[in-house]
C-alpha cells in the first residue's frame, strides 16, 4: 500500500478520554487514508461518538494526539476542525427547516458582497459541488419541504462547501428508507472516487460489508479489532461488537393461531398534513401469531398504529379487539379494557418521558392502578419494587432505578419501554419499529421477547421498516403502499424480491 509514501489524512494515536467515573475511550488508535471509507462499528455506548467528538474538536482527549496529513494538531473547537478540512454530518440534522438550502449551507460562513449576502454566488458553488459529487439538490428549495434523504445531502454539501476532505457520517442510515440508503451509498462511492475520506459510524452489519473499505470495531471504549469487509461475515462482526456469540436469526417454532384478537375493517384516516393516510384498510390478527406490516416509511404505517392505539381518529371503519368495538376509543380504554400493549415507533416522543426516572417510566401507563396507586396516592415503594424487578428481568443497564430515562443509551431506553409493555398480562401487542436505532445485543433480546409473547398466545402486530426484521419474525406479512394494504402473504411464501416489489407498489400474481 502507499501508506509509507503519503501520510494518512487523519491519524489518532493512543486516544484516551476519561469522564468523571467513566473511561469513554482507552488507548484508541485510528488511521484514515485518502479516498477510503472506514467503518466504525460498535454498540451504543461503545465510545464511537466520543471518539468522533474528539476528532471534530468538541472534546479534548485526556491523553493522545491527533495528526492531520502527518502534522500534529490541537483542536479547541469544531471551528478548528473545519479549518483543518474535517466535516461532520450529525445523526440529528443541524438545519434550519424554514430556510432555503443555500441559506442553510452558508449559515456561519456567509458570502458577502457590498455588505449584502451574495446568495447567487453561493448557489452557484452549491450547484458545482452537486454536479461534482452527484449530490442532487435544488439550492432554492426550503429545507422543511425536502425528504429526509435530501436533507442529509444538504448536510453533506454543507461540509463539502467548507472544503472538508474528511467526512464523519454519524449513523447516517438510521433515518433513511432502503432506497435512500442505496442513494447515500452511491454518493459515498462518488466522494471516495473524488479523493474524499469518510468515517462511517454505524451498527448495521450489512451496510458495513456493503460499503466500507476497512472496518474498525469498538467495544467498551477500546478497539477490539479490525476486519476486512471482503472476508468478514456478519456473524463475526456481531460477535466482535458484543463480545460473545450472537444469534442473528430468530429461533422460532411454527405458529399456532387461535381466535381473532384484533380486527380492522375498512379503516380510513387522515395524516397530519390533511391528506388521506389510510384507505380502506382491513386485516385480522389472531392469538398466537405475528402479523408483520412491511412497507417503505411513510406509507401509512405510523397512522395505522396511531388509529389502532387511539392516538389518531379514524374517519371511517372499525377497530375491534376480541369483538369489542374500540374505534376511536381513548388510549387508556384500549390499553386497559383491550388488554393491549404498544411499543411506539418514536420512543422519545411517545414511549417515555426523558426527565422521568426509570422507575416512573416503567409505570408510565399504569401509575394510577394498584399496586402503584392506592386511591389517589402514588405508592413509591411499589413503583420501586416493580422497577427493580423489571430492570433485572429485562436487563436494562442503568446506574439506578432513579436515573432519568433520558440519560440511558438508546438500546436500554427501548428495553425499558419493552419491559413496561411486555410485563403485564396482555392479549394484543402492537410493536412499531421495536428495534430502530438500537444495538445488536438489544435487538436479539427484543426479538426473542416478541416471539415469546406470541408463544404465550398474544396476537402481535409488528410494524417495521426493516425487511429483515419482518422476515425474521412474522408468520404472515402485510405490505402497505400509499395507505393501502396491497397484499398479505404467508411468511413461507414470501421472498425478499417479492416483498420488495410489493413495497414499490407492484402487485402481480408471480409474487405468491
Amino acid at each position: 500500500m502507499s501508506t509509507s509514501i503519503t501520510p494518512p489524512v487523519l491519524e489518532a494515536r493512543n486516544i484516551t478520554k476519561v469522564f468523571p467515573g467513566v473511561i469513554a475511550n482507552e488507548d484508541v488508535n485510528l488511521v484514515l487514508h485518502k479516498g477510503e471509507i472506514l467503518a466504525l462499528l460498535g454498540e451504543n455506548g461503545a465510545g464511537k461518538s466520543t471518539l468522533m467528538n474528539i476528532i471534530f474538536g468538541l472534546y479534548h482527549p485526556t491523553h493522545g494526539e491527533i495528526f492531520v496529513n502527518g502534522k500534529p494538531v490541537v483542536m479547541k473547537s469544531p471551528r478548528d476542525a473545519i479549518a483543518l478540512g474535517i466535516g461532520m454530518v450529525h445523526q440529528h440534522f443541524q438545519l434550519v427547516p424554514v430556510m432555503t438550502v443555500t441559506d442553510n449551507i452558508m449559515l456561519g460562513d456567509e458570502s458577502v458582497k457590498n455588505g449584502l449576502l451574495d446568495r447567487r454566488a453561493v448557489a452557484e458553488r452549491i450547484r458545482a459541488l452537486s454536479r461534482k459529487y452527484g449530490l442532487e439538490v435544488d439550492p432554492d428549495a426550503i429545507v422543511e419541504d425536502l425528504p429526509v434523504g435530501v436533507r442529509q445531502r444538504v448536510e453533506i454539501l454543507k461540509a463539502l462547501y467548507r472544503n472538508a476532505k474528511i467526512l464523519i457520517l454519524d449513523e447516517p442510515t438510521a433515518v433513511l428508507t432502503p432506497q435512500e440508503i442505496e442513494g447515500l451509498f452511491e454518493v459515498m462511492e462518488t466522494l471516495r472516487r473524488q479523493g474524499e475520506s469518510i468515517i462511517f459510524i454505524t451498527h448495521k452489519l450489512k451496510e458495513v460489508l456493503r460499503i466500507a473499505d476497512r472496518i474498525m470495531v469498538l467495544r467498551n471504549g477500546r478497539v477490539v479489532g479490525e476486519a476486512d469487509p471482503r472476508t468478514a461475515t456478519q456473524q463475526q462482526l456481531a460477535s466482535m461488537m458484543v463480545g460473545r456469540e450472537v444469534i442473528l436469526t430468530v429461533d422460532k417454532g411454527p405458529a399456532h393461531p387461535g381466535e381473532t384478537v384484533l380486527e380492522v375493517e375498512g379503516l380510513c384516516a387522515t395524516s397530519d398534513l390533511g391528506e388521506p393516510a389510510l384507505r380502506n384498510i382491513s386485516f385480522q390478527v389472531r392469538a398466537g401469531e405475528i402479523l408483520g406490516v412491511a412497507g417503505v416509511q411513510g406509507n401509512g404505517q405510523t397512522e395505522l398504529v396511531e388509529v389502532i392505539t387511539g392516538l389518531r381518529r379514524a374517519d371511517a371503519g372499525h377497530v375491534r379487539i376480541k369483538g369489542v368495538d374500540m374505534t376511536n376509543a381513548s388510549p387508556r380504554r384500549i390499553t386497559h379494557e383491550g388488554r393491549s400493549s404498544h411499543v411506539p415507533e418514536d420512543r422519545h416522543a411517545y414511549g417515555m418521558v426523558d426527565s422521568y426516572t426509570v422507575a416512573d417510566n416503567l409505570v408510565l401507563n399504569q401509575y394510577y392502578l394498584p399496586p402503584f396507586a392506592k386511591g389517589v396516592t402514588i405508592q413509591e415503594a411499589a413503583i420501586a419494587a416493580h422497577a427493580r424487578e423489571l430492570v433485572k428481568k429485562f436487563d436494562v443497564r442503568t446506574p439506578s432505578i432513579y436515573t432519568p430515562g433520558g440519560s440511558l443509551s438508546g438500546g436500554n431506553q427501548q428495553k425499558m419501554v419493552v419491559a413496561r409493555e411486555f410485563s403485564r398480562p396482555i392479549q394484543l401487542l402492537i410493536a412499531a419499529q421495536p428495534t430502530r436505532g438500537i444495538d445488536v445485543g438489544s435487538i436479539e433480546f427484543i426479538h426473542n421477547q416478541i416471539v415469546a409473547k406470541r408463544d404465550e398466545g398474544v396476537a402481535v402486530l409488528l410494524v417495521s421498516a426493516e425487511l429483515d426484521e419482518i422476515m425474521a419474525l412474522s408468520d404472515r406479512i402485510a405490505v402497505m403502499y400509499k395507505g393501502e394494504i396491497i397484499d398479505v402473504v404467508d411468511r413461507a411464501d414470501a421472498t425478499r424480491e417479492g416483498l420488495g416489489l410489493l413495497m414499490a407498489g407492484v402487485k402481480h400474481e408471480a409474487v405468491r
Binding site: 392505539t309 392516538l311 386497559h336 418521558v353 416512573d360 408510565l364 396516592t377 433520558g406
Partner: protein
C-alpha cells in the same frame, strides 16, 4: 442514590441562590454608579426586613400573597402552561370575596369567612378556566388569553367599585355609598375577616398559615398523587402523556383552574385579612411577582415558599432602606427584575460562575412550549 439526590437538590438551589446574589451585586453597582451608598442601602434593607419584630411581621405579611401567586404560576408551569394571568385572577378573587364579605350580615363567622374565601377561589377558578378551555378547544395560546384577561379583570374590578360620575353615571354594584366621590367598597363585615394571629401593631393574620398549608398540599398533590403524576407528565411530554392514556385536555383545563383558584385565594386572603375592602388602587402586582417567585422557586412548592419569603423581605425592607440611606425604594423593583432575568436565563448564571450541568439531567420544567400549541 442518596448522594445523587443531594447533588440534584444542590444543583436546584445553586442557580436561584447565585441569581439572587448576582442581582444584589448588580443592584449595588447600579446604586454606586448613581452615587448612592449600596452598603447603607442594604443595611437599611436588612433592618427593614429582619431588624425588629415589626420588620419580621412586615416580611411575613408581604410574603403571604406571593406564596399563593407563586404557586399559581408554578403549578401551571408543571403542566407546561405559562400562567401570566395570576394578576387578573388575584383581582377577581379579591372582588368576589368582597362581594360576599360586604353582604350576608349576621352570618356566623364560621360560615361567612369560609364562604367569602371560597367565593374568591371560585372567581379565580373561573378566570383560569377561560384560558384553559380556550386553549384546549380553540388552540388559543394561554399567554395571550391570560394577558388579555388581566385587563378585563382590572377594568371589571374598577367598575364594581366605581363611585359614579358627576354626569349621573351609575355607580358600581359594590361601591360604598358612604364614600362620596371615592371609588371603593365598604369594609367587609367582621364575620368575614381573617382573624389576627398577632394583632396590631404587627398585623399578622391567619392568611399566612393558609398559604403555607396550601403550599404543602400542592407539594403533596404534585409529587405524591396520581393527579400530580398526570399533570407533570403532561408538562414534561404531552405526547407521552397521551400515549399513557392521560386526558391531556382535561389536565390542561384543570391545571389552569387550580392555578386560577390559587391566585384567587391570594386575592381573597389579602382582602379579608389585610385591606378589608377593595379599591382600584389595589392592583394585581403580586400576580406578576408570582412569575418571579415561581421561577426562583424552581416551580417546586417548597422552593416557592422560600422564594416568596425572599421577595417578601425585599418588599418589606424597601421603605426602611429609602428612609435610612436615601436610595429610592424603586431600586428594589430593579433588583427583582434582575432576579427574574437571571433565573429565567440560567445559562447566564452557569456561564458567569462556570457551573457545569450535572451529567444526569435534573427533571427540568419546560417554561414555554412556544406558540401555536
Amino acid at each position: 442514590m442518596r448522594l445523587s439526590v443531594l447533588r440534584r437538590i444542590g444543583y436546584m438551589v445553586l442557580i436561584p441562590i447565585l441569581a439572587v446574589f448576582s442581582a444584589l451585586l448588580l443592584g449595588a453597582i447600579i446604586m454606586w454608579i448613581f452615587g448612592d451608598d449600596p452598603l447603607a442601602a442594604y443595611r437599611g434593607l436588612w433592618t427593614g426586613a429582619f431588624g425588629s419584630p415589626r420588620a419580621w411581621s412586615t416580611t411575613i405579611r408581604k410574603m403571604t400573597p406571593l406564596i399563593l401567586t407563586g404557586l399559581s404560576v408554578a403549578v401551571a408551569f408543571k403542566a407546561g402552561l405559562f400562567n401570566i394571568g395570576a394578576s387578573g385572577q388575584f383581582l377577581i378573587g379579591s372582588v368576589c370575596s368582597v362581594a360576599v364579605g360586604v353582604n350576608f350580615e349576621g352570618l356566623p363567622a364560621f360560615v361567612h369567612l369560609p364562604l367569602a374565601l371560597l367565593a374568591g377561589v371560585a372567581g379565580g377558578v373561573l378566570w383560569g378556566f377561560i384560558p384553559g378551555a380556550l386553549k384546549v378547544f380553540t388552540g388559543a395560546h394561554e399567554v395571550i388569553v391570560t394577558i388579555m384577561l388581566n385587563y378585563v379583570a382590572s377594568l371589571f374590578a374598577a367598575w364594581t367599585v366605581y363611585a359614579g360620575g358627576t354626569q349621573g353615571q351609575t355607580p358600581g354594584p359594590l361601591w360604598d355609598r358612604t364614600a362620596g366621590a371615592i371609588s371603593r367598597t365598604p369594609e367587609v363585615f367582621m364575620s368575614a375577616r381573617l382573624p389576627w394571629i398577632v394583632p396590631e401593631p404587627y398585623r399578622i393574620h391567619w392568611g399566612v398559615a393558609i398559604a403555607l398549608l396550601v403550599a404543602l398540599i400542592m407539594w403533596w398533590i404534585l409529587f405524591k398523587t396520581t393527579l400530580g403524576f398526570s399533570t407533570r407528565t403532561v408538562g414534561a411530554n404531552s405526547k407521552a402523556a397521551r400515549y399513557a392514556g392521560i386526558n391531556v385536555r382535561w389536565i390542561t383545563i384543570l391545571t389552569m383552574m387550580i392555578a386560577g383558584g390559587l391566585a384567587g385565594l391570594a386575592g381573597a386572603i389579602e382582602t379579608l385579612g389585610l385591606n378589608h375592602r377593595f379599591a382600584p388602587e389595589f392592583t394585581g402586582g403580586v400576580g406578576f411577582q408570582g412569575i418571579t417567585v415561581a421561577l426562583l422557586g424552581q416551580t417546586n412548592p417548597i422552593g416557592v415558599v422560600l422564594a416568596a419569603f425572599l421577595l417578601g423581605a425585599l418588599e418589606a425592607g424597601a421603605a426602611r432602606m429609602q428612609f435610612d440611606s436615601g436610595v429610592a425604594a424603586d431600586i428594589i423593583q430593579v433588583i427583582q427584575a434582575l432576579v427574574l432575568a437571571f433565573v429565567a436565563a440560567p445559562l447566564i448564571i452557569r456561564q458567569i460562575y462556570r457551573i457545569r450541568k450535572p451529567s444526569d439531567q435534573v427533571e427540568t420544567t419546560v417554561f414555554s412550549t412556544g406558540w401555536g400549541r
